[in-house]
Structure formats: C-alpha cells, structure tokens
C-alpha cells in the first residue's frame, strides 16, 4: 500500500510552490493550517453542545418559560426540584434501570465472549448475527419486543406464561421498566461483547498454558489469570455503558410514555416532559444540570486517563 502511494506521488508530479522551491514550509505557517482543519469540528462542538451546556447552568438559576423574560431566582429551581417527588422517582428509576442494564450486559457479554472465543467454524457469521440488534433503531426494537410481549397473544409472553412468569408491562411500573431493561440489553450487548471479545482474544496463550501446567482448573484460569488481564477493557465497557445508559429515553418512552401516572419516568423523560409539555424551563434546567454533573462524574476516570495519554504521546 505504501509503495502504491509512493508510486502515485511519482507518477503525478505535484505542482511546485514557486515562492518556496524544494523546501518544507517553515513550521510556524502550519498553525494557521491546523486551526483551519480544526475549525469545523470546534464550531460544531462549541456552537451546538458546549454553549448550550453552559447556558443551561445559567438557565437553572432563572425563572423562565417560553415567551417570558427570565428573572434570577437563585436556587429556587433546585429547591423545587428537591421537593418534587416525581424527580426522585425518576432518579430512583434511572439508578435501578442503569445498573441492571450495565451489569446485565457485562455478565451476558462476557459469557458470550467466552463461549465464542474457541469457536472457529462459522465465527464470522455468528458474530454478524450477534451484532445485528445493534444496527436497529430503538423504535423498530420496540416494535419487535412489543409484538412478542403483547399480553396474551405475543409469542414470548405466551412462552413466559407457560413457565409461570407474567410481565404485565402495560400496567405494572416495575414490569414496564423490566421490559425496557431487557430491550436495552438486547440492543446494546453487542457493544460490550465486542470490546470484551477483542480483549479476550488478545490475552497471550502462554499465560493460559503456564497456569494450566501449574495445575489451575479452567475456572481458576479464567478468574485468576484472564479476568485481571482484561480488566481495563471491562472497565471501559462499564464506563461507556453507564454514560450512554443514563441517556435512556426511547425504550421507556415508546413502551410506557413514562406512565402509568409518571411512575416509569427516567431522568431523560422527566426532563423532556418538564421542558416540552409543562414548559417548566427552570425546573427542567436544574434537572439537566444534575444529569450533566452525574454524567461527567462517571466519565471522570476515563477523561483523566485519556488526558494522561494525550500528555504522554501525540
């Protein structure tokens, strides 16, 4: 490939810059070029994400709704938020749902990765099949699961009835959230699986063999040798899934709309309702700031590590 490129450069002699023949441009002129290259990305990020993220902090100290001059109210929005039982319901639901999803996916993804790593025959096809749910939109995923779980007529709900499990997701809040978790795990397990699978494949065979010679059982070899080696990958998977699971919206919204009686709302749905339905921008902003801080807090170890990597090389 490199030869190909080199040939390409030879065949097509490039236009020479008359003012600066046969010489690399002085490095200081490059900064302008670099800034130009960075500009589109930075404009997008600052204009559409960073500025709103800062603005929402300011907004959370204002009393405001659509078409009304905002007025400074200090911490009143936060006080109202803390007093709102709906908010605490959303916090608790989010906490429960996110943990079930992240650790459910971790256990399941790890099991599938272990199951698959010694499989040679048809491995590509099997991996393709496992990845397929990842390519599907939330709304189609909900279509599939609602079809299977439709009370009394859906295939999966009839099968579950057969073994005595009833999941009345359309009436019981816990069951609605449980089904949302199931769908989220179904859809996002491929991400966790791929990271863990790649990590497992890169564990050197020698360490395994050495442990086997020392008399370790397969179980011990897995927990004492392999899991510590792939721990960084496990942590990355957990971290990323935490950050993305906190955003959970579509699964719950399309199943229950946060109902009945706002009992299945997660933070993203609480925020959406307060903003777009009740036009309660101040309260929504305060909740948004909480979500923002929570996400950044979870991301902190990852950001710290990446910052260290950037400082080291590049």
């Amino acid at each position: 490939m490199i030869a190909q490129i080199a040939r390409r450069i030879d065949i097509r002699p490039l236009r020479r810059d008359a003012s600066m023949p046969d010489r690399q441009r002085p490095p200081q002129t490059r900064h302008g070029f670099y800034v130009l290259l960075l500009l589109p990305a930075l404009l997008l990020l600052v204009g559409l994400l960073a500025t709103p993220a800062v603005y929402i902090v300011w907004l959370s100290f204002q009393k405001s709704t659509l078409g009304q001059e905002p007025a400074f109210v200090g911490l009143a929005n936060y006080a109202a938020l803390i007093a709102d039982s709906g908010f605490w319901r959303a916090v608790w639901n989010t906490f429960a749902v996110v943990n079930v999803i992240v650790y459910g996916e971790l256990a399941f993804g790890l099991a599938v990765a272990v199951l698959l790593r010694r499989v040679e025959m048809g491995r590509k096809l099997i991996i393709a099949a496992i990845i397929a749910p990842y390519a599907i939109t939330e709304s189609s995923g909900i279509v599939m699961w609602r079809f299977m779980m439709e009370p009394e007529v859906g295939i999966a709900s009839r099968l579950l009835d057969g073994v005595g499990i009833v999941l009345p997701w359309d009436s019981e809040p816990w069951a609605g959230l449980a089904l949302a978790c199931l769908i989220a795990i179904w859809q996002h397990m491929p991400f966790t699986f791929l990271i863990l699978y790649a990590a497992l494949l890169s564990v050197p065979k020698e360490t395994q063999e050495a442990a086997a010679i020392d008399g370790a059982t397969a179980w011990q070899r897995f927990w004492r040798v392999e899991v510590p080696i792939i721990m960084p990958a496990i942590l990355v998977a957990i971290l990323f899934r935490y950050i993305f699971a906190i955003r959970l919206f579509g699964e719950v919204w399309l199943l229950t709309r946060g109902g009945p009686a706002r009992l299945t709302e997660v933070l993203a749905i609480y925020l959406y309702r307060e903003t777009f339905q009740y036009r309660n921008f101040g309260l929504a902003s305060a909740a948004g700031v909480c979500m923002l801080l929570l996400s950044l807090l979870i991301a902190l170890p990852y950001l710290y590590r990446m910052a260290k990597e950037v400082r080291r090389d590049a």
Binding site: I2, R8, I56
Partner: protein, 277 residues
C-alpha cells in the same frame, strides 16, 4: 485448551444456538410477519410456514404515506451527516495526530468532555434558539446536531488511524514540493481510508436510527423514519401491526446489511477509537 470432549462441544453448541435465538428471533419474527396476512400475525399455534403476501406493504403505502417521506428524510440526513462528520473529523484527527503543542491537546480533551454530555440536556437551551432561527423541522438542524455528537468520536478515531501513517511519507511529499493540502488529500487521506470507512459505519448507524432529537426537533417537513414508526405505535385506534412490521422491515434492512457487510470495520473502529484499551 484440549476440551474436545463431545459433552463440552454440545454444551457450547447449545449456548451459541441460544445466543443466536436471543439476537435474531425478534428481528426474524418481525421481518417474516411483515409478509403474513394480517389475520395470521397473532395466530395460535404459531405459523412457521405461510404463503408470503405484500398486503402489509400495500396497507403501509395507503395508510402511512408519511413513512416514505420519512425514509427520504432519513436518507438526506444520514448522507449529509456522514459527509460533514467525515470532513470535520478527518481534519481534527489529523491535527491531533501530528501536533504536540498544549493548545491542541487541550482541545482534544475538550472534545472528549463534550461527548460525555447527555443529548437531551442540550435540547432545553437549544429549543428556543432553534425556533428563533427558524431551523425547527429542517434537515439542517438534525445534520448539525448529529455531526456535533459524532465529530468527537470521529476525531479520536481518525487520530489513531493517522498516527499509524509514517510521517516520512508526508515529509517525502513535502520535499517533492507538495503543498499541505496536497499532502493531506493525496498522501494521508488514501492511507486513512480504513478509518474513514469505520467512522462512516458508526455515523450511518447512529444517524439512520436516531430517535430523540428527531422527535423533538421535527414535525412534518424533516420527520425521519424512526419517528414515524414510533408514532405508528401510539395510535388511538390500536396498532396496525401489519403496516408497522412492513415499515420496520423497510427501515432496518439497509442498515443491517451495511453493518453485516462492514462488520470488521466496526471492530477496527471500536478498538482504534476512543475505547482503545
């Protein structure tokens, strides 16, 4: 290592079968049901064999013409999101791979921080501004938002792909008199092609399937297919399952095919991108 015993193999085969059923059954059920007659869909006992019919697709065309304009909007938004994200990410990734100065490093970390923000949070302050700019219900706002959320992943992915390209190639081209733009276009771009494909895959999957932004920021004009499917699920007169299945099938087929065809790039992207371990 040497567990070639029959029982181990059987257990493993059963496990794989179970995983495949879990992953594929919901998809296959919906796709096959799309070709059933409506009355067969919830039939007991379950009909594995049936004569395929296009009836549901006809119902979809008749009852939900907005689904097809939704598909068109999805295509427009996805194509332009990919273009914008690729251009912006390639430029930024190149700079991050080739610079050592603090200012660039700070901006690289800034990109990561911004990526951690939950999307729904930025909608609260953006909504009035977008209304005021009259960008509501336009393709442009979705394209810009999607690109903004994926450009940081893109920049970091491109950074690791560009870093693998020997800088000597660029220097050789510079000695031959190539300008910076020419080096970027003729030397770096072709060598980073694999990274660009991997990034394209991520962006296509995201933009084609995104739901929350599309639901909040579009009404008729730019409403995308996932939002239309979502609406078909919440009609007052009960869900038209046949039409919903037809719509879901049409919507999922292209992106599933792309992912299956390019899955090795997905893995390359995951391991080379921001989640490198």
């Amino acid at each position: 290592m040497h567990d070639l015993r029959l029982s181990t193999r059987l257990v493993r085969a059963a496990g794989i079968l179970a995983v495949l059923t879990w992953s594929l059954a919901p998809i296959l059920l919906v796709v096959t049901s799309a070709f059933k007659e409506p009355r067969q869909i919830f039939e007991v006992p379950f009909q594995a064999f049936f004569i395929p019919t296009a009836e549901n697709f006809e119902t979809l065309v008749r009852l939900n013409p907005e689904f097809f304009s939704g598909l068109r909007n999805s295509v427009i938004v996805t194509v332009f999101t990919v273009l914008l994200t690729l251009c912006a990410s390639f430029g930024a990734g190149y700079v991050y791979a080739r610079t050592k100065e603090t200012a660039y490093k700070v901006s690289a970390v800034f990109m990561l921080v911004v990526r951690m923000l939950p999307p729904i949070v930025v909608t609260v302050p953006l909504f009035p501004v977008i209304n005021w700019l009259e960008l509501n219900d336009s393709h442009l706002i979705l394209i810009l938002l999607y690109a903004a959320f994926y450009v940081s992943l893109g920049a970091w992915m491109m950074r690791s792909f560009v870093a693998q390209i020997p800088i000597e190639l660029e220097e050789a081209a510079a000695i031959d008199g190539a300008t910076l733009w020419q080096i970027l276009r003729l030397v770096v771009l072709p060598l980073a092609a694999q990274g660009l494909v991997a990034l394209t895959l991520f962006v296509v999957v995201f933009a084609w399937n995104e739901y929350v932004f599309a639901m909040i920021f579009t009404m008729n004009n730019a409403r995308t297919a996932p939002v239309v499917i979502g609406e078909m699920l919440s009609t007052a007169e009960g869900v038209q399952w046949g039409a919903v299945f037809a719509a879901a099938t049409i919507q999922l087929v292209p992106v599933v095919l792309i992912v299956l065809a390019l899955q090795r790039f997905l893995i390359a992207g995951l391991t080379a991108g921001a989640v490198k371990s």
